[in-house]
Symmetry: C3
Subunit: 341 residues, 3 copies
């Protein structure tokens, strides 16, 4: 792989160093804090960034992407760049099946398409480089063509001709392309509604996201599989825009939402202030398709007190979720489902 | 329940009085005119409003919310407030099952969450107060966080852990939070695509909404259950914005629509002028999923002449709908469905 | 049919003449170039336009709309007018079943509704005229009501009470209503996700759309049937607006997308520059519901070199698509599906 000296190389080490220097925004991988991030300063734009990703087996017959050998998670690492950056991904296939990495929202040539159609994949054991480019909006013929900014995602497109097997097993993750000036969050959570699971987990094993009251949190929501899904978060709402925020108080015609369709291949992101106007506590996020919620597509968003302590009643709610909710939901779902068919 | 003298209490009586005084906008409950409404004047903002809602059995094994004992309807009453208002709901459970009321779009603390997770529900026979707060947009860190305005909804979240049974039986309704200055409609209709029904009815028993040619009508559309739905209204279209209207004639990039996804937990509202540019007559509204329309997810929007008289051909169309359409649809659906499987 | 001399009559002949004179934008019917179009000049607005459409059997038990006897295609001709125009369609029913033509987005009275409810259909062998009107946005009560511009569609609404049989067999097509000043494309493609097919075809028989690198292409996407669908195009993205473009570079809150829900009755359109930023090559477009892609809802977008020559590797990709992909997909789908149930 070509690697000129001026290229900034992403690595676990440099990320940690950056974080320590206060130059990076903290990112979250699979619900737990992780040091993978980028500089937010304007002069960092337009850089070539590089990362090595390892596709590896994960316990339970699953497969995940990770930033180092033995570090695969489901979802994979949340990748974050700025409009203008180029991201070069060295993908190492440590499985015994053909696979790839296919992004949404960014520019790539056919060799980086990640599809068998374009012979763009890694054979078992093979290492291959995929290049993703981004750019800002530009004028063309009196109108503007949008830039690359968005809450996107990446996934396998070659284990199965369209990645069906790879996605089902966990080969997916979030990809954020920011505009310079976008507000940076204190916390980030990736929520993937994949078939009948959240991040390939079902309640009560779904991720519990945590933040302190008043922290700015960012949800990156991704849909996969074959089912209809709608993402609902209790007690928080956001604008149905690129960022979940508004440009001015005069945006009277923009819809605010707290429930949004999240179907296969869809993705969106938004920022909210944890517990804003509603206080700390344990809040549900879930698929609003009733049988999906009953079947386990429910997770918790724990908003702690602003000093990080547990709010009154929160532990009891968490205990209820772990002790009783899932079992009841399972039983109800199977009996209701039987009656429905 | 704490009830200071200065609180404006919502009641059937005060609503009627208000309507007579011309201070209120007429609202519609379940397709028929109802006197439940609020003052539209700016000085009414920021008030604490109170309402008592009764959850009660409804004929046919259903359950509904109502504004008084024996008044339960499906959907429940259309609740309407302004950004800045607080709504305190005293919910009386006149059924023999656990249930609650859970809103979308507004602010509430965990005690008003309406979920078993937060032990927020009414036991059979119990009365419990739920408090919903609202607010306007505000600036935070260079961006704006949206206010509470929207076409929202409320539903049970405790008959079944996620309200699956309660919703299936009819425990749902519309909730409008307006911005000051929003245009008020002459008529309002609530349309809930709940599983394979409209408002738990199937054609030809679905609601026939009525307005005179030229009246401004507002549709509040809500999705529930487990199925994919798309709401289509014949001969009328609206902007895909918070209100269905545009801020200026220069909104050239806003999409106009006449068909919109309406999946579980989704809601939207819009205003159109009845028969605008197309004249009076009987217009269909229906789910555009073909087997759903064939199976009975079809209703009528009768636009009368501007003087309230019946337009030519309208009665014949209504008669066709009642006499033939449903039977044919049922037969076709079952035979087509068989062929499809 | 009333036909004053001043009416501009649409015909295959006049379209060809117009195209030769450089007055028209080239349109595409069913993936192949066709001469059906309109003048783009501002003085052409507000005209009454007329077209005769023939509904006829198509090989394989299908039915299509066409611009002349024996010319039926699936989808039918892409109709294009400007806000302010009226389109009068003389529909000839050359089949032995009742059918109609029902549009989305435009104005029509009950006689042109296309529904059995309003007795608006063609008996077998019958010719009937349907009139569609359009208009620009206008102010009403401090707000604006949107005009007719949009990427709409038309379909049968009478073969089966709601057109279920007619749509399943191919009676559908695209309808564009433009605003004056909208950028015109070099190429247009209509993509209809109809039940488990694209334009009633499955891979590898789905349309291969072609353009040269740098040409402005327009996709018109329509959903039909009973299934959940999401449209994904590789290596190209667009703004989630009426046109896929932005009004200014300051539209920082508008979402860019490359995957969009396309459910029954939905439609949207967008323009992209072929191969922009990614180069020529063979790019997939497909339903992102995994089993739908595996089952054949995949097509190709061939971006040739700017001189029209084939890019390196393109023929090999096309050959792979035709030789192997479908068979593999079919096998995988059936086995995976079995495992899923």
């Amino acid at each position: 792989m070509d690697e000129p000296a001026q290229r900034a190389r992403w690595s676990r080490r440099s990320m940690l160093a950056g974080a320590a220097a206060g130059l990076v925004s903290p990112l979250v991988v699979n619900g737990s804090a992780a040091p993978f991030s980028v500089e937010a300063s304007a002069q960092a734009r337009g850089k070539l960034r590089q990362v090595t990703i390892y596709a590896e087996p994960v316990e339970g017959g699953l497969v995940g992407y990770g930033l180092g050998p033995g570090q695969a998670t489901i979802p994979g690492p949340l990748l974050e760049i700025y409009e203008g950056d180029t991201l070069e991904i060295e993908l190492v296939n440590n499985t015994d099946q053909r696979l790839s990495i296919h992004p949404h929202g960014v520019d790539y040539d056919t060799a980086s398409d990640g599809s068998p159609l374009n012979a763009s994949f890694n054979e078992p054991g093979e290492t291959r480089t995929y290049t993703w480019r981004t750019r800002t909006a530009r004028k063309a013929g009196g109108f503007w063509i949008p830039g690359s900014a968005g809450f996107w995602h990446y996934h396998d497109h070659a284990m199965g001709d369209h990645g069906t097997t790879g996605i089902a097993r966990g080969l997916y993750g979030g990809l954020i392309v920011r505009k310079v000036g976008d507000p940076l969050p204190d916390k980030q959570f990736t929520v993937v509604f994949n078939e009948m699971s959240i991040n390939n987990k079902m309640a009560p094993d779904t991720p519990m996201f945590e933040a302190n009251h008043g922290q700015r949190v960012e949800f990156v929501c991704i849909g996969h599989g074959n089912q209809l899904h709608t993402f609902h978060l209790h007690a928080h709402r956001w604008a149905d825009t690129r960022t979940g925020l508004l440009g001015s108080g005069d945006d009277v015609h923009t819809r605010a939402i707290d429930n949004k369709d999240l179907n296969p291949g869809d993705s969106f992101g938004f920022q909210v202030v944890a517990g804003d106007g509603v206080g700390p506590g344990v809040w549900m996020y879930h698929c609003h398709v009733q049988f999906h919620a009953d079947g386990g597509m429910v997770g918790l968003f724990l908003v702690r007190n602003s000093d990080g302590s547990m709010p009154a009643g929160a532990q009891e709610a968490i205990d209820r979720f772990h002790a009783h909710q899932h079992e009841t939901a399972q039983q109800q779902s199977s009996s209701t489902h039987a009656g429905h068919r």
